[in-house]
């Protein structure tokens, strides 16, 4: 498999700095504009008015503190997972199984929160978070070891493990961690009250959003300022040369899978403790996959991931409001996201010409 990636790698060669900056910022912006235009087309096709739909979307996202809190809440898991994926993608490790790692993290973290005989809130939360990170990390570790040890394609293993992870979660909430109070349907146990993430004062958003905000500079620093980040780039650009120069490719792949898996697990338990308040089979409908979009639109750059996460969360949260007030299908948002990535690839290429 090739390692250098057009979306991630800085352009090589004679391009001037301005040209490079244009490609870095211009291509995603152009793709966003194009995708929104195409989204407008979809809205018309669905029988809506694009202007009022988009204004309803913006209103739904920023119209009041409550709405904006929802944007932040939705951005939180996207940014947390997106940061981990950005690291992995930069190093040429294609972890696309974040969705599964998220569910496994939610399961292990949730199990800790339910089973741990502790009443202190902070201790319980901390233990659950660690449990979630470990669960996701282990799910990633399997992929990493298979790739490092035998060169098994991580794209496929991480994806197959996603299905397995989700089914594991579904079994758990149906059997050992079933909510005894639920009479019909599937519902996992509720989280103990002490373990729920408190809201930030002022906005109606849980403190999990702070994790994302703290992680952004940490990952930015890790990528840009440390030998680890330098090696990551080496591996992503030319794995053969990196190995020859002593970068332990296998160990790095394992580390990257553990980090990105762990962050996905963290996102899973944060969602469980902060949003759904129980082990919920509908905890995520594709958050782990959307985070891939976020990492790619953010060009696998920490600040970029933050911006892309906010953008996508705006679309999602605003889109939900829009779908109600304008009676349009919410899945327009999904379509726009999908179109985004394709346009980004094309725009990126054309900007480099």
């Amino acid at each position: 498999m090739t390692s250098a990636t057009s979306v991630i790698a800085a352009p090589a060669g004679r391009l001037g700095l301005n040209r490079r900056r244009l490609a870095t910022v211009g291509a995603p912006t152009g793709a966003v504009v194009l995708a929104l235009l195409l989204g407008a087309g979809l809205i018309v096709a669905a029988g809506g008015d694009p202007l009022s739909a988009y204004s309803a979307l913006l209103d739904g996202a920023f119209g009041n503190p409550l709405a904006f809190g929802e944007v932040l809440a939705q951005a939180t898991p996207l940014v947390i997972i997106g940061l981990g994926l950005a690291l992995a993608f930069r190093g040429g490790v294609w972890n696309i199984g974040a969705e599964g790692q998220l569910f496994v993290g939610a399961l292990t973290g949730g199990a800790v929160a339910v089973e741990l005989p502790v009443s202190s809130g902070p201790v319980l939360i901390a233990a659950a978070l660690v449990g979630g990170i470990i669960g996701g990390a282990v799910w990633g570790l399997i992929v990493g070891v298979l790739r490092a040890r035998w060169g098994v394609n991580e794209v496929i293993t991480s994806l197959l493990l996603t299905y397995i992870g989700i089914l594991l979660f579904q079994w758990a909430v149906r059997q050992p961690l079933r909510d005894p109070a639920a009479t019909n349907g599937l519902s996992g146990q509720a989280m103990p009250h002490a373990a729920l993430l408190p809201d930030l004062p002022g906005v109606s958003v849980h403190i999990g959003v702070l994790f994302a905000l703290v992680l952004v500079p940490v990952v930015a620093w890790l990528m840009g300022r440390t030998p680890f980040g330098f090696r990551l780039r080496m591996l992503g650009l030319n794995a053969d040369a990196a190995q020859t120069a002593g970068v332990p490719a296998g160990r790095m792949a394992i580390r990257l899978m553990v980090i990105s898996g762990g962050l996905a697990g963290l996102a899973g338990i944060v969602q469980t403790l902060g949003v759904s308040d129980r082990l919920d089979p509908n905890l995520s409908v594709g958050t782990g996959f959307t985070a891939i979009v976020v990492a790619l639109i953010g060009r696998c750059n920490a600040i970029g991931v933050l911006l892309a996460g906010l953008l996508v969360a705006t679309l999602q949260a605003g889109g939900q409001a829009m779908s109600v007030t304008e009676s349009l299908p919410y899945s327009i948002v999904l379509a726009i996201e999908g179109v985004f990535v394709v346009f980004l690839l094309i725009a990126d290429r054309l900007a480099r010409r």
Binding site: G151, L167, Q175, G185, P329, L334, V341
Partner: protein
């Protein structure tokens, strides 16, 4: 739980019969992927192609009441998504791994939108089942006859097409070019083979096959469409290509292992009875993925020599330098 309902005499026939039915979508997509990868393009968009094809087939059949029109729509949509992959990977030469992921997300978004737009709020729409076509004489053979020769017409057609793909790859001039282009594009180029054109066509075939796979899943099997109806079959197909060492016959055979576990899981679910049962039917649901994972690992670990096309995943640039 009553295991004999699954493994008892007639149960077993049902099991094998539905195994073939369930394997066919994956098998067709895997064959398409084999063509693409033999041409040197790692097409991770297969899941998206299947999903789009499934939607196309469903809409075609739903609005015209004709499974034939449905099948044509399914294949056509698959080919179109294949063209998108070819445009990104062959013409623009962007990173193939990202292209594939992008195409999956793209297809998931668009199909979810279309489905919600067309059927949102209403009841689950279905299309009529197509009748099984029992082949005279052969269909009367006990056991085997029921399994192999009492299926629907689409399944027979798919079987014929699968053989056709094998012939195309191994016994035609075009197939020779495909294999050359995936192994050594420079050499193929020097031998006056148009590398880009061959890869484009290979991806169109791959898209068409994946679309047909989605079609077979929807028409004559599920008879309905849901968002993400393919449930990872495209990814499984890619794994099975590796397991089958890029050999169309081995790949085709390998998919029936998947089909069997899939059929088993469906039977266990049907027999076990509801969400309150103690039977961990999720384990059986996970079995196809677990088995695929296991064979993928085993195939990779024990491969004595790599059968992977040498140029897999590498864009071809003609006038590189001197």
């Amino acid at each position: 739980m009553d295991w004999s309902a699954i493994f008892g005499g007639s149960g077993l026939t049902v099991l094998f019969s539905s195994a073939i039915l369930l394997a066919m979508p994956t098998a067709l997509a895997a064959l398409g992927e084999t063509v693409a990868e033999r041409a040197g393009v790692l097409n991770l968009g297969l899941e998206g192609m299947m999903l789009s094809g499934a939607m196309g087939a469903f809409l075609g059949a739903y609005y015209t009441d004709s499974p034939v029109v449905g099948a044509l729509c399914g294949v056509t949509v698959g080919v179109l998504v294949g063209a998108l992959m070819a445009f990104l990977s062959v013409t623009l030469k962007t990173e193939q791994v990202i292209n594939g992921i992008a195409i999956v997300l793209f297809a998931q978004g668009i199909t979810a939108f279309l489905f919600e737009k067309l059927f949102g709020g209403s009841e689950q729409p279905t299309i009529p089942d197509i009748p099984d076509l029992k082949i005279p004489l052969l269909g009367d053979i006990p056991g085997v006859g029921k399994v192999l020769f009492d299926q629907n017409a689409l399944l027979y057609a798919s079987g014929v097409i699968a053989v056709g793909v094998w012939l195309l790859l191994m016994r035609t001039r075009f197939g020779l070019s495909i294999r050359a282009v995936g192994e050594s594009p420079q050499a193929a180029d020097a031998a006056a083979v148009n590398v880009s054109r061959i890869r484009w066509r290979a991806l169109l075939i791959c898209g068409g096959m994946a679309g047909l796979g989605g079609t077979v899943l929807v028409i004559g099997n599920l008879n309905l469409f849901q968002p993400n109806v393919t449930a990872g079959r495209g990814w499984v197909a890619i794994a099975l290509v590796i397991f089958g060492r890029w050999n169309p016959l081995l790949v085709f055979g390998g998919t029936f292992l998947f089909g069997f576990t899939d059929a088993l899981q469906v039977q266990v679910r049907a027999v076990s009875g509801g969400t309150s049962t103690d039977v961990p039917y999720e384990l059986f649901q996970a079995l196809p993925y677990l088995i695929t994972l296991a064979v993928l690992v085993i195939a990779t670990v024990f491969a004595r020599r790599s059968a992977q096309p040498s140029a897999l995943g590498i864009p071809f640039r003609k006038e590189a330098s001197r």
